[in-house]
Symmetry: C2
């Protein structure tokens, strides 16, 4: 092969960042003569992944790529050397490391396992860049291995069902950012979501017909494995279990009959931990599910059982007294111990939320912490493995920055090295109260990519500016899988306005984001039956405006004379808001649904535009702010911060800073 080096240099848009990377100028130019060789180990999984990689390469560049995989590495553009298949059932200890070297002559990807090669191929695809009239792979040397072994995303399909295509495109996105655990929350008070042939009334009566067949579940497990992703099912027990009892009231602690619960929040019902028949039922169920989910971990939930139904049942109270169980926590620990025996029988490790933590349980139980780092550390000090979820709740509608900076194992942790090794990693949590298949993508993406980097990349990769720069690119790349996180906002705006002309509404929506799950619940009292069709469902958490306006304002205020470019960008933004505002005020009257949420916000939007423009003018010294302007402006900002329409403005902080920087005459 005659090498012809690229002229351009590497622009780092990788996410997650690799452990070690060095770059040289130039690189390998992509041409239709591109060929692939896998001279060492090959199997169906590797071949399929290479096929997908070549298709994506071809799709991105338009350069036709032959799909044959050669044995002979001589002259190949991309050589993929894999030592072996890796684990038959991927575990938390799977070797995911790889190295990738690109020169003007081509690329070489090396890995011990197919999973390592999968990770490397995602990096390779992220490397592709334009080089004037063609595309190239920049000359880099990458040695990469994950910081944490457990990098998960939990999706709650109990409260709202998510169809298989949604799960698959999410798995594609996960693989692209090197996540390796799909935690599938399959049962809730609001729905039991998988077919049981042993207990057909579980899904038959507990799901409104919205459940995964066993065949579909196996399809998802296989799809995930092809992408190096483990699937851990969660069946929440003994609480969060109303949907089980619709068909099988006999395993509950009350007398029934039960209905699928439509309200959210903690319910009083729970399984009956005192009867052998409950465990017999669960033994059958766990056995059946074990045949579908090969992962060695089985998530039993265990959270938020309030004990009300137990305390209200004299037979259960008597049982507690007889067995010296002093409170309902002790009764739950008893339940977990018996459940653990069933899991052990089926060769499963137990994983559960904080509440399962109990000295009576053996040390191979993994604790998933929704309560926070302190709770996680406390578990590690007792010798339990743990994964952190508390700071990674997507329904809090926090910024990618907030999630990104939360570390499962912070530098200042007081854990010993041995205890530190018990922190397996983290899991992003997508609870399902207020989302459904049309809105889930914008809640998960792109923020989850930032957390994926936290879990994969070295601890010191913490530059928020750089993260946001790369996040924008990753977000666009994710659309190739059919993810709708960027398009769904427009769909919502068109539906709400009944108009295809949404230019002005887009500008308005660009500085709005949903309020948190809790605030919306307070404001709207959502249940499973609430239509999710409002402005809050259309807008996206942490839209680019939030960080961009903040950065521009801070740069400008730090040194106004040196940041004329920032000033012009802000002027342009405020002008665009001002230009859009009248049309927005007219458009929000298009439908009652929109008027209710957005009429006040649209007025405030016009005011924010005005304040921003004025502040810039006053700061530039063209004229002085009249007395009272500052106080009036701050009052407007205060009002815009008040709850309303289930959405909030993303730019109030920097606008306040701008106003405060103005000198009145």
């Amino acid at each position: 092969m005659s090498a012809q080096s690229a002229q351009s240099s590497f622009t780092n848009t990788l996410m997650p960042q690799p452990s070690k990377l060095t770059a040289e100028p130039g690189g390998f130019i992509l041409k239709p003569s591109f060929t692939v060789a896998a001279p060492q180990f090959r199997d169906g999984r590797l071949d399929a992944a290479i096929g997908r990689t070549l298709h994506r390469l071809e799709y991105e560049t338009g350069i036709p790529v032959a799909k044959d995989i050669h044995k002979d590495p001589a002259g190949a553009s991309l050589i993929i050397e894999v030592k072996g298949a890796g684990e038959v059932i991927q575990s938390v200890d799977e070797d995911e490391s790889y190295s990738l070297h690109v020169t003007a002559n081509g690329a070489k990807l090396q890995a011990n396992t197919v999973v390592g090669a999968l990770r490397g191929m995602e990096t390779l695809l992220q490397l592709v860049q334009p080089d004037h009239s063609t595309y190239f792979l920049p000359a880099v040397s990458i040695e990469d291995t994950p910081r944490f072994r457990w990098r998960g995303l939990m999706i709650d399909c109990g409260r709202h069902f998510e169809p298989v295509p949604v799960i698959k495109r999410t798995l594609d996105g996960m693989a692209a950012v090197k996540l390796n655990v799909f935690h599938w929350h399959l049962s809730e008070d609001q729905g039991f979501r998988i077919e049981s042939k042993l207990y057909p009334k579980l899904a038959g009566m507990g799901s409104d017909g919205l459940y995964y067949t066993q065949e579909q579940a196996k399809e998802v497990v296989a799809y995930a494995r092809e992408r190096g992703i483990r699937v851990i099912p969660e069946f929440d027990m003994p609480g969060h279990s109303s949907a089980w009892f619709v068909g099988y009231p006999e395993i509950s602690s009350g007398s029934g009959p039960y209905e699928i619960r439509r309200e959210f929040g903690i319910s009083d019902v729970a399984m009956d931990p005192t009867r052998d028949s409950t465990y017999k039922f669960l033994d059958g169920f766990v056995g059946e599910m074990s045949a579908i989910f090969p992962d060695p971990y089985f998530h039993i939930g265990g959270d938020e059982t309030n004990g009300v139904q137990w305390k209200g049942n004299p037979r259960i109270v008597e049982f507690m007294q007889k067995h010296d169980l002093k409170d309902t926590a002790a009764l739950q620990a008893y339940f977990n111990q018996r459940l653990l025996k069933i899991l052990v029988k089926y060769h499963k490790h137990m994983i559960g939320w904080d509440e399962v933590l109990n000295p009576a349980l053996p040390k191979d139980v993994v604790v998933q912490s929704w309560r926070g780092e302190a709770s996680l550390a406390a578990g590690a000090k007792q010798g339990y493995q743990g994964i952190l979820s508390a700071p990674y709740y997507l329904d809090g509608m926090k910024s990618a920055e907030q999630h990104y900076l939360a570390d499962p194992l912070p530098a200042n942790s007081d854990l010993t090295p041995e205890q530190r090794s018990l922190i397996l990693g983290g899991e992003v949590c997508m609870w399902g109260e207020q989302l459904y298949e049309r809105t889930i993508d914008s809640r998960i993406w792109p923020r989850t990519a930032a957390m994926a980097e936290r879990f994969w990349s070295p601890e010191n990769v913490r530059d928020v500016d750089d993260m946001y720069r790369r996040l924008n690119t990753v977000s666009i790349r994710l659309e190739v899988f059919g993810l709708t996180h960027l398009t769904q906002e427009d769909v919502g705006l068109r539906a709400l306005t009944g108009s295809a002309d949404i230019d002005a509404m887009r500008v308005f929506a660009s500085i709005l984001e949903p309020v948190s799950f809790g605030e919306r619940y307070e404001g709207q009292h959502t249940s499973q039956l609430t239509p999710l069709n409002r402005l809050v469902d259309a807008v996206r958490p942490d839209p680019p405006s939030r960080y961009e306006v903040q950065v521009l304002v801070h740069a400008l205020l730090e040194n106004p004379s040196q940041h004329s470019d920032e000033k012009h960008q802000l002027e342009a933004a405020f002008s665009a808001w001002k230009a859009a505002a009248p049309k927005v005020q007219q458009r929000v009257t298009a439908s009652p649904l929109l008027t209710e949420d957005a009429a006040a916000r649209a007025q405030q939007f016009a005011q924010l535009a005005e304040i921003g423009s004025q502040a810039l003018a006053y700061l530039a010294g063209a004229s002085s702010a009249p007395t009272g302007w500052k106080q009036n402006s701050l009052t407007v900002l205060d009002n815009a911060k008040k709850p309303g329409g289930l959405v909030r403005f993303t730019v109030l902080g920097p606008l306040r800073d701008l106003v405060n920087a103005v000198q009145e005459k």
Copy 2:
């Protein structure tokens, strides 16, 4: 129930327009107390459709609606009176008529069949409008019945496979505009797309693994039936059949071996019509498919068999001589006669493209005309039933207007009343050479809605202005089914520019559309393996700009003094183009793929903006056009009309009219 009439009046956004409609002021206000009663016939299909209707009503309005269906009509907001189930297997003669009456007291929908009720429910949903702070159903009386019995959409899943979710969302869209036939083109030279258990190598070797299982096909048939849509499978024979022969070369007229054909266009291969074994094979196959597709029609394709393989096989030539078959058309007629016997055995009527037309075939054969109205009329004169497809080819990238005005049975037709009754209707055709699951929606929608109106509504519903006005609304309503016709353009623009900031590119793309299938094929020589990732794949056929600019310019030129509003709209449009042009010229350099297609077009875009602005200024008389301006401008427009980048501008005609109207000094 205490009635409270709405204050607003009916705005007609129905598509298709009903046969008869009268409207009164006011209407029925939607409230959470909304109830439904179905006091007469009910079955699972009706109940499910009512459930979907209530969900959509609730989703659109945000008003919680109880889902119970009452028996007692007293006090119900919506009464659905259905006489009976309709046909067990929906036929071309199914009664689809309904009547719908809305007063201030509520709505009553009456139909003889469940299918009629389905049509009426779609009309009901299209009626919903805002009324100040709530929503209402306008007071209308509708009597509705389709003009044509056969209103179809064909999708070619042979050349590119379309996954089941794509088919389902398309069926939802079809039902929304009252189409009633899904013609499923399942085999092609490029792919055999359905599982055969009898001949597993058909899909096993002929599909690249991209095929529908029998279970999935049954699921699609059931999904369609729930929506009152017949499913007619097409297996193209004896030509267009390379994919069959990969696994079964013995039914071909050559010796093989065969591969899946990647090139498009007419291939030389065909089934062997001379051997009994061919018919034995087809008997088994048709029998197997008949169990999956209950529709009485079976489409055998029959188009574009060029006879090359027949003429090259001495055994076949000898057979022709022996049986006095004077040419290959006669041989194909012989094949069709034997195939017909098989269809009859399985109680199927034959349907095929023009080429099947042959006096030797009985009169229950239906001819689908891709050759045009004349061919269709010729068939009718011979006594054959027919459906028109020629003017409804979506891949010609024609405007909705062109499709809309093409009538299966034009007013000036010379057919006798009896012959006219043989014209069953029309079918929109979506051929699959240059599309795939990401781009198919924008090719089908919204243009197909205009054709659906042509097939359903009275002949005299031909007002193009009114059609476009309603089409914009229908287009937005279709997004509720997950159709991506409006969002996919943005996805493409982001992928091509690598940027989330596509405001300027959107303005550019808004006046571009794809060239026709043929022009693209000439320009790019697409095959099945061509990545469909270019600007032409992103932009949409007949975007709103085309008609809007044309209407504005013509109004202005007709009477400039009376159309200042149009003038301002045009000025705003040209200003927006001008403002976007510099950024577009920069953005198109972002990727080689985009530069190749769009660099020249971006320059022309800037020129068009300039010419438009100047023309308006000269027409306003502020100054005179310098000598030569007109000629120069026309030259620019001529250049912009030349092929380039596989896309064309939508606004050249009206710009030319503007330029021509300018007086030079």
